[in-house]
Amino acid sequence: MSADIFRRVTFRAYLALFLFLLMAPLLVMTASAFNTPSYPQAWPIEGFTFAWFSKLMISYDLIEGLGNSLIIALAVTALSVPIGLAAAIVMSQLQARFRAIYYLVAISPMLTPGIITGVATVVFWRETTRQIGLTFLYNGLFLSVAAQTTFVSTLCMLIILARLQRFDPSQEEAALDLGASPLQIFTSITLPFLRPALISSVVLSLLSSIEEFNATTFTILAQKTLTTVLAGRIRVGLTPEISALAVLIVSLTLIGAVAHEIFARHKSRRAKAD
């Protein structure tokens, strides 16, 4: 019995240490965002200030980067979710003898480090735009969208595929028997069934696009996104404004998580009541 208690105590200690190491950087960052010294410092606390937050509002390169990040994220989502949808449906309908090779190609962007995708994209489009004369396409925004779409589509495909595998084909057959056209089946049976997966795809696409750094560093060229501006600034020197920005992002996340938790509890309580 004492061995059991010993194991339980060790596990508790491990869990506490794990969560502490996970959270420590966030706590330090938060503290330094409100502390007065101009070098981000969590301890000792010298005074409480909002100055770093107001400075954030006039950091024009950050704001420009954020704008570009949002444009790229919207374009990537608009491309990746339909591509992921198509890729998942094709996977479920493809002739069996080609499925393995198609799966390998479709999954490969996830198994390739982001920077290699970035390198490949920038090399390919430099040559192609030069040869077909569309040099205006050779710009940071277009290239970043192309590179991120490569692997974000795989992500969407996997999410949609997981849901598609639970699809009951008899629904489709019933609609066919009732005289529905294939297009009607697609829009009023397949898409509504996939709705939850499509919504998570949209959310995850936006998030992973905004946060992407490795491929974007190579493809953004002379332009900037939020992540590249941040990386550039951090390499030059640490300032509390960056902590302030991080605090804003973490708080938005927390609010979202709490809202989701409340929503989930509310839903499960309603489900129990029914």
Binding site: L15, L26, Y39, Y103, F186, I210, N214, T217, A231, A246
Partner: protein, 338 residues
């Protein structure tokens, strides 16, 4: 892609795939293996065209063609735009030779700087992958097998929270913690345990922490997914039969979770090898990670063919790692879906 032969092969590839697919479906119809409506009848013409166009654009324009272009460029010398297509534009192994031996006539004989960076990147990534597995396995097992639902949801929030901030910011936070005037040094100094700040960043403590921190979520979730599907009764049965706890893990839980462990390790390794933010921001002056080397080939040395060769060399390292993992775990590629 400069040579016309490679261009035409690339343009022929989609055609070849189309012919292959049509021939195969024709053969299946003739031999009676395929019955029922075909692809176009089943989806309707509009949806079918959308499906084909979307998948074709994606696989060819963003996956296959760029990789081919990158590999092709890596066999070219570095030329100015005017020289491209001229007499000097020939296939060469110079970029790979440079990786091994350095510039022609270098005194060392080998390109130790880049070879060392490559070696460190691969070895350190293997090390970080193993470390992450050891760190995450107990947590994933607890989450999958014994945590109560509410506790589980709380743990998920805790785990996801650091990953909703930017990778760059995450690394920045670790830098704040460990820099010379960071909080760890401040605390250690004030308690009198040390008299001089410890150079954590210079000693690469920060780098390794940053790397494993970045990949923890991938590992925990892949392991969690694999462990969750294990029937609790199997563990109970093993315990009832008198198996000690490590027997249960080694002979019941881990064999069941093998595909999950393999894909967790493969994904962690990839994320680690390809990580750029952590080495840029946390790498000490003596560490040279391979990804910044590639970046410098492109945007400092302005030698794109060499950068492409280096990227390809990194890709080969990754492929070898995945193949070795599959061989070690005796798995097929299809089984390690992320």
């Amino acid at each position: 892609m400069r040579s016309t032969s490679v261009q035409s092969v690339m343009l022929l590839l989609p055609l070849l795939v189309t012919v292959l697919l049509l021939a195969s479906s024709f053969y299946d119809r003739r031999s009676g293996k395929a019955v029922g409506p075909g692809f176009f009848q089943r989806n309707g013409i509009v949806v079918a065209i959308f499906l084909i166009a979307a998948v074709a654009c994606w696989t060819f324009l963003t996956i296959i063609f760029p990789q081919v272009a990158m590999i092709e460029l890596s066999f070219h010398p570095n030329l100015s735009p005017r020289q491209i297509g001229g007499p000097g534009d020939v296939y060469t192994l110079d970029n790979y030779r440079y990786f091994l031996f350095g510039p022609p006539g270098s005194p060392d004989g080998y390109n130790f700087l880049h070879l060392r960076a490559y070696g460190i990147t691969i070895v350190a990534s293997v090390f970080v992958t193993l470390l992450n597995f050891i760190l995450c396995y107990p947590l994933a097992f607890y989450m999958a097998q014994s945590a109560l639902p509410q506790r589980l949801r709380l743990l998920f929030v805790f785990l996801i929270l650091p990953y909703w901030i930017n990778e760059v910011l995450r690394v920045f936070a670790i830098r704040l913690l460990l820099s010379n005037s960071g909080i760890v040094n401040t605390l250690l100094l004030s308690t009198g345990m040390i008299s001089q700040p410890v150079d954590f960043v210079g000693n690469d403590v920060g780098l390794y922490w940053g790397l494993s921190y970045s990949c923890i979520l991938v590992m925990v979730f892949t392991l969690y997914n694999a462990l969750e599907s294990l029937d609790k009764n199997q563990i109970e049965a093993a315990r009832d039969l008198g198996a000690p706890w490590w027997h249960v893990h080694a002979f019941v839980v881990m064999p069941h979770a093998k595909p999950g462990i393999a894909s967790g390790c493969a994904l962690t390794f990839m994320a680690c090898v390809g990580s750029l933010a952590a080495p840029l921001i946390l790498g000490g002056p003596r560490t040279l990670w391979f990804t910044p080397v590639i970046y410098n080939r492109f945007y400092q040395a302005l030698n794109w063919p060499q950068g492409a060769a280096y990227a390809f060399i990194l890709l080969v390292g990754c492929v070898i790692f995945v193949l070795v993992t599959l061989r070690l775990f005796k798995l097929k590629l299809g089984q390690i879906a992320p």
